[in-house]
C-alpha cells in the first residue's frame, strides 16, 4: 500500500500546501477529478488510450480508405491483387497491406473489420454490464427466493460450454443477413458474459447491504427502491466501470473467435476473425493475411486491457494491485 500514501502525499503537494505568508487554501475535488488526476499519471494507460483513439479513427475513416485506394471492401481485383499463379500479392503501392486470396484490399477490409470489432466489443460489454448489474443488485439486495433463482441461473449460464452453445444458436437460426448476424453475435456474447459480472456485483451488494449507511437510510424510512437506487447503486459505479472496461477486450476476442469459425458476423462484411479464418489456407505464402488482422486484434485487446487496469487503479487506489501489473 506504500504507493497509495506516496500518491496521497503527491496529491497534497500538488494542491500547493499553504502558500508563504497566506492562509492555507483548500480546493475541493470530486472523486472523478481525483481519479482523472491519478489516471493521467499512468503512462501506460494514457498511451493505450492513444492507441485506441488511432484504431477508432482507422475504423471511422474506413469508407475514406476505400475511396482513396479505389478498392471497396467486397470488391475483388484478380488482375492487380493476384499474381499469374493466382496467389495473393504482398504489400505494394497499389495494396498497402497486400491483397487477400480473392484479390481484395487487406487495408480496407481491416478498417471495416475494426468497425465490427469495436461495435460488437463495446455494445456487448455494455449490454452485459447493464443486465449483470440489474441481476446482481436484485439478487443481492432482495435476497430470498429471487436470489436463489437468479444466483442459480447465473451458475447455470457459467456451466454452459459457451462456444458450443453459441455455435448451436447460430446454426439453429441460420442467419444470413449481416445486420441480423451482428445483433445475434452481440446478444450471444452478452448472454455468456452477464453471469460472471452479476456474480461479482451480487457479492458487492451483499456486503454493502450490511453497511451502516444503508441501515441509517432504512431507519429514516427510505423505501427499498430508493435504497437500491440512491445508496447501493452509486457505490457500485467504480466496480461496474472497471468490470465493463475489462469486458470489452474479452468480447472482442469472443466475436473474433465466432467469426473465425464462420458463425459470427456474416460475410461479405469483413471481421478480423473471419479474415483470419478465410486466409488460414494461404498463410504459408501470404504472411500478411495472418499479420495484419492478428496484430490489430492483439493491439486492440492489449490496449483495452491496459486501459481497464489503469481505470481500476485510478478509481480504486486502495484496491488489490498485487494481481495487476506493478
Amino acid at each position: 500500500m506504500s504507493s497509495y500514501t506516496e500518491l496521497e502525499a503527491q496529491e497534497l503537494r500538488e494542491d500547493g500546501g499553504p502558500p508563504p505568508g497566506g492562509p492555507a487554501r483548500v480546493r475541493g475535488r470530486s472523486p472523478f477529478q481525483l481519479a482523472w488526476a491519478r489516471f493521467r499519471r499512468d503512462r501506460l494507460a494514457v498511451a493505450s488510450l492513444g492507441v485506441l483513439a488511432l484504431i477508432v479513427l482507422f475504423a471511422v475513416l474506413a469508407p475514406l480508405w476505400a475511396r482513396w485506394t479505389g478498392h471497396p471492401y467486397d470488391a475483388t481485383f484478380p488482375k492487380t491483387g493476384l499474381d499469374p499463379d493466382g496467389q495473393p500479392r504482398g504489400p505494394s503501392g497499389e495494396f498497402w497491406l497486400g491483397a487477400d486470396q480473392l484479390g481484395r484490399d487487406v487495408l480496407v477490409r481491416a478498417a471495416y473489420g475494426a468497425r465490427i470489432s469495436l461495435v460488437v466489443g463495446i455494445l456487448a460489454a455494455l449490454l452485459a454490464s447493464v443486465v449483470g448489474t440489474l441481476v446482481g443488485v436484485l439478487s443481492g439486495y432482495v435476497g430470498g427466493a429471487l436470489d436463489t433463482l437468479l444466483a442459480r441461473l447465473m451458475d447455470m449460464t457459467l456451466a454452459l460450454p459457451y462456444l458450443l452453445v453459441a455455435i448451436l444458436l447460430a446454426t439453429t437460426f441460420q442467419i444470413s443477413s449481416v445486420g441480423a448476424s451482428l445483433t445475434m453475435t452481440i446478444l450471444v456474447i452478452a448472454f455468456f458474459s452477464f453471469a460472471a459480472f452479476g456474480r461479482i456485483i451480487r457479492g458487492q451488494v451483499l456486503s454493502l447491504k450490511q453497511k451502516e449507511f444503508v441501515e441509517a437510510a432504512r431507519s429514516l424510512g427510505a423505501s427499498n427502491t430508493r435504497i437500491m437506487l440512491v445508496d447501493v447503486l452509486p457505490n457500485l459505479v467504480a466496480q461496474v466501470t472497471v468490470l465493463t472496461s475489462l469486458l470489452i477486450p474479452t468480447s472482442i476476442v469472443f466475436e473474433a473467435t465466432l467469426s473465425f469459425l464462420g458463425v459470427g458476423v456474416r460475410l461479405p462484411m469483413p471481421s478480423w476473425g473471419s479474415m483470419l479464418g478465410e486466409g488460414s489456407d494461404v498463410f504459408q505464402t501470404a504472411w500478411w493475411l495472418l499479420a495484419v488482422p492478428g496484430v490489430l486484434l492483439l493491439l486492440t485487446t492489449l490496449s483495452f486491457n491496459l486501459l481497464g487496469d489503469g481505470i481500476r487503479d485510478a478509481l480504486d487506489p486502495r484496491g488489490d494491485r498485487s494481481g495487476g501489473r506493478r
Binding site: L163, T171, L276, G294, L297, T301, N305, S322
Partner: protein
Amino acid sequence: MTRFVIRRLLYAVVVLWLVSTLVFVFLHISPVPVERVIGGPRATTDTLEQIRRNLGLDEPVLVQYWEFLKRLLRGDLGASYINGTPVATLIADRLPTTVWLVVGAGILWFVGGVVTGVLSATRARSVADRAATVFVLIGLSTPPFVMALVLLYLFATRLGEAGFRFFEAGPPLQEHFLQRMILPWIALAFLMIAAYTRLTRGAMLDVLGEDYVRTARAKGLSRRRVVYRHGLRAALTPVVTQFGIDLGALIGSTIVTEKVFGLQGVGQLVYQSIALGDTPVIIGVTLVVTLFVIVANLLVDVGYSFLDPRVRLS
C-alpha cells in the same frame, strides 16, 4: 457432508435436464426443415413425409419431448442425419483426442502458471517479476486461435521448411504423438498460463502478508520453508478450485485449436456437423461436454468442502 454432496448431485441433474430441454427447444424452433437436410434438394414430397414419419416428427411436440428424454435416460443420443452412425459412437471415437489435448494443456498451464506465479510473487518488483507481468498482459490479450495460427505459421511452416519437424499433421494420434500434440498444447495453454500466473501471484502475495506467515518467520523457520510449506499450500487452494472449473470448461473450447491443427477431436466433429446441418451430433456433443463441465464443478465443490469446512455451511 453427505447432504451437501446429495444436494450438489441433484443440482447437477437439474442443470443437465435444463440444458437438454434448451437444446430440444432450439431444435424445434429451428426454421431449417430436418427432412430437407436428410433428403437433399431433389427429394419428393412423399419422401420428405416418409423421413418425417421415420424420425417421429409428425407426433405432437410433447410426445416427441417425452421420447427425447426417454432416449437420453437410456444414454441414447440418436443417430447422425448424414450417415446414420450413432452419435455416441461418433463421440466415443473423437473423445480421446480432445481429452489428450485438454489434459496435456492442463498440466502445462497449471505447472507453468504456478511456477511463474510463485517466482514472481517471491521476487516482487524484480526484473523477473516485471518480465512475468509483461508476459501475463500479452498472454491475456492474445486470442487462443491467433496464438494457434502464429505457432503453426512459425514452427510448422517456416521452421518446417528449414527441416525441423515440430509438427506432424493428420491421424492416427498414436503416430508421432508428441510432434502432433506439442504445438496444440502450447496454443491452448498460453492464455491460461498467463491467467494462472496472475492468479497464483495474487494469492501468494495475499498469503505471505498473513500474520501466521510472519509468526512462522519469527519462530526462526527459513524463508524457503515458510514460502513453500506455509505460503504455497494455502495459496494453492483457490488456484486448484479454478483449475477444476477451467479444465471442464476447456473441453468445449478446443474447437478452434482442433480446427487450426487439424486434430480429429470432438470440436472438429461439431465444426464439421455445422457445415452439414447434422443437428443430432451437435446436440450430442453439447450434452456430453456440459456433462464434463458439471462433473468438474461437482468434483471441485465436493473436494473444496473437504478442504474448507466453511463451504459446507453455505
